[in-house]
């Protein structure tokens, strides 16, 4: 039998039809919808007189432009201050009601950022194909499924036909072996990978993250890693199924029980790359060399260890790269050669589909506990990724730790990850952020984003500038990486 990669297996098991030129019809098991990329798709369905092919595959929730302010949230959809946002959220509710699609509405238990909510409810399971009109859909690949973002026309195509016209990608494996040092988290691992392969390194490839570091990593940590596969240019990131995957799934709301559970979990165990499977590209990193990472520029590949200095344009090999670095430094208001730790922060954002799960909240709380936010920092937002994360964090008293430190504990949503609601950076402000993109203006017009882990962001909030969190954490293990 031909050896297959995990991606090959997932692809083959969902192939409905193949054209001569290799473009194929792929069956979609789970379709996750949110308010921003779905309205035009529903409108398209209506105009063509079509209805969804299957209802029990779709799951929806609003996340991108809802308020994270408690009082505004309590006022319901009518309380969304920006009227264009309000119409968009209302349109999602109306479309889901009209077509009979299961939606976790704004204030319902279960609501959350699409990529936090899907896995946590067990709506996404190993072996599935999962799509959503959002590029960070790769997150779900942490469970050993084939998950990727799609555009709005494709949202409509999946609604109408349960299939997607797709072309098989190539296989890429990123292996990280060895032991991570204390204070080095999944976020640092993925940022280091992006620093190594670049933001286009994974274009047209599906990345499988392999090696002892990922085997030992919790499922939530794997989600942080897979989430940012897109920042490495790959639509798909995934990790093979193991006992941790199965344990994570067991007992979740939409996961099968009894006899079906036995059958499903037995199948899921086969979802690993065959030992002699061949990858088109193989990259490896040594875990001991990874130290906490911080981005200094306007692309996730503009990343450096916290102990480094901001690079000099002249150190770049080509004139294009020199120009790019200079443009980034100008935008970020940084001087070449300055230590990363001398960068002051005006605001801090702990949240987003990259780092807003319970382990991220614990990691940040561990640093915040018994400390206070520096007086020079204007605002620290801690935004849980879902209603369930929020409830869990509150039951552990994490909200109290954050508030005692002078941080704001918010309602679940995307928040300052992309600033479609009121949570924004001001012009020229620096932000220590646990999100995934540091593009110009991503967190607010003129805002300057530095991507890092939740522990590093919490430490920056306390110090008032970027700082190496490791000495603060020497007392023990870090969450996200089960020891």
């Amino acid at each position: 039998m031909v050896s297959k990669t995990l991606y090959d297996k997932l692809w083959d098991s969902h192939l409905v039809d193949e054209n001569e030129d290799g473009s194929s019809l792929i069956y979609i098991d789970r379709h996750v919808l949110h308010e921003v990329t779905s309205p035009q798709a529903f409108e398209g369905l209506r105009l063509a007189g079509r209805t969804p092919w299957r209802l029990d595959t779709n799951i929806a929730t609003p996340d991108h432009n809802i308020s994270t302010d408690r009082l505004e949230r309590e006022a319901g959809v009518a309380g969304i201050p920006d009227h264009v946002s309000r119409i968009q959220v209302q349109t999602l509710d109306d479309n889901c009601d009209h077509f009979g699609i299961k939606e976790f509405k704004m204030n319902e238990m279960g609501q959350g950022i699409v990529h936090v909510m899907g896995p946590e409810l067990g709506a996404t399971m190993p072996g599935m194909t999962v799509v959503c009109g959002d590029s960070h859909t790769a997150t779900h690949g942490a469970l050993g499924c084939l998950a990727h973002g799609i555009g709005t026309s494709e949202v409509e195509h999946v609604l109408a036909t349960q299939c997607l016209v797709s072309k098989k990608m190539k296989n890429m494996r990123v292996t990280v072996d060895g032991e991570l040092g204390p204070g080095v988290t999944p976020k640092d691992v993925i940022l280091a990978i992006i620093g190594k392969i670049g933001t286009a390194g994974g274009n047209q490839h599906a990345i499988e993250f392999a090696g002892s570091v990922f085997r030992k990593m919790s499922i939530e940590g794997r989600m942080t890693v897979c989430n940012m596969a897109i920042e490495a240019g790959a639509r798909v990131g995934m990790v093979a199924v193991d006992q941790r995957t199965i344990d994570y799934c067991e007992g979740r709301q939409f996961v099968p029980k009894g006899q079906l559970w036995e059958q499903a979990s037995e199948y899921w165990r086969t979802l690993v790359s065959d030992e002699d499977a061949v990858f088109d590209i193989d990259v490896s990193l040594d875990a001991v060399e990874i130290i906490p990472q911080v981005t200094w520029g306007t692309s996730p590949e503009m990343v450096a260890p916290v102990t480094a200095n901001v690079p000099h344009p002249d150190s770049q090999p080509s004139s294009d790269l020199r120009k790019g670095v200079q443009q980034a430094l100008d935008y970020m208001g940084l001087v070449a050669g300055m230590p990363i730790t001398s960068i002051g922060v005006d605001r801090v954002f702990i949240g987003s589909c990259t780092n807003s799960r319970i382990e991220d909240m614990r990691e940040a709380a561990r640093v915040a506990k018994g400390r206070v936010v520096a007086s020079t920092v204007k605002q620290v937002l801690v935004v849980p990724g879902s209603q369930m994360v929020k409830a869990q964090a509150e039951s552990e008293g994490l909200d109290k730790i954050f508030k005692a430190a002078g941080m704001e504990w918010r309602e679940p949503g995307c928040s300052m990850c992309l600033a479609m609601n009121a949570d924004k950076l001001g012009d020229g402000e620096h932000c220590a952020s646990t999100s995934n993109r540091n593009f110009e203006g991503r967190q607010g017009s003129g805002g300057r984003t530095h991507l890092m882990s939740p522990a590093m962001a919490a430490a920056a909030a306390v110090a008032g500038h970027i700082i190496d969190v490791r000495p603060w954490l020497l007392e023990g293990s870090v969450t996200g990486v089960s020891q």
Partner: protein, 215 residues
């Protein structure tokens, strides 16, 4: 979908690598529930000197004279010449909608982010891939020659300059057919409804837990 067969038009430069979708259409404009009307806000932050808001009349906004699309020589451009990894970042289809709404018919770059590339085809916008040296030649000629136009022929898969330079490009045959004929992909897939149904029957037998859980 609109068909694309052949197009000749003025070329405008977007001379930086990694142009992300937020640069193409900033997020505040994603709140619209329409498919059209994004053209005036294409490259909003680069194009205007103030901060754009949805629903504004863009004709009275201060424009950035440095930005190519604001310069007379590029004012009727319908082909965008760009650098590598164009369209990276989010999956927003608003990016091709904005380019198309502005009046662009084609983009030429050395590489694209996968999702953006895919989205272009759904909207009758042709993303042409040429090599980096070819792109460099085109940028040079574009800057030297006012009113620089190119002729793109999808059937022949060629880009031709008025000075007779011809560049060949590659793309999937399926995508090419759809674009040439303006075919509706959903309609095409619906023709295979039987296959989809039989796949579903097999799957429901083998992996029954995939069905019926969400109600």
């Amino acid at each position: 979908m609109k068909a694309f067969t052949q197009h000749e038009g003025i070329v405008a430069p977007m001379d930086r690598a990694n142009v992300d979708t937020d640069m193409i259409i900033p997020k505040q404009f994603l709140k619209s529930i329409q498919r059209s009307g994004f053209g005036p806000n294409l490259f909003d932050e680069l194009r205007y000197l103030d901060h754009g808001q949805p629903g504004q009349d863009c004709r009275s906004r201060p424009v950035n004279p440095e930005f190519p699309l604001n310069q007379a020589r590029y004012s009727n451009a319908s082909i965008l010449l760009a650098q590598k990894n164009f369209g990276c970042g989010s999956s927003r289809e608003h990016a091709p909608w904005a380019l198309e709404d502005y009046g662009f018919k084609a983009i030429i770059a050395s590489s694209y982010a996968d999702i953006f590339y895919n989205n272009c085809f759904k909207n009758g916008l042709l993303p042409v891939i040429l090599t980096e040296p070819e792109i460099a030649v085109l940028f040079k000629t574009l800057y030297e020659q006012e009113g620089f136009t190119l002729d793109i022929d999808l059937s022949a898969q060629t880009v031709t300059s008025d000075a007779g330079l011809v560049f060949q490009f590659e793309l999937d045959q399926f995508r090419k057919e759809c674009l040439l004929n303006g075919l509706d992909e959903i309609g095409l897939t619906m023709l295979k409804a039987d296959r989809i149904e039989s796949y579903e029957r097999d799957r429901a037998e083998q992996h029954p837990w995939v069905f019926g859980a969400i109600k």
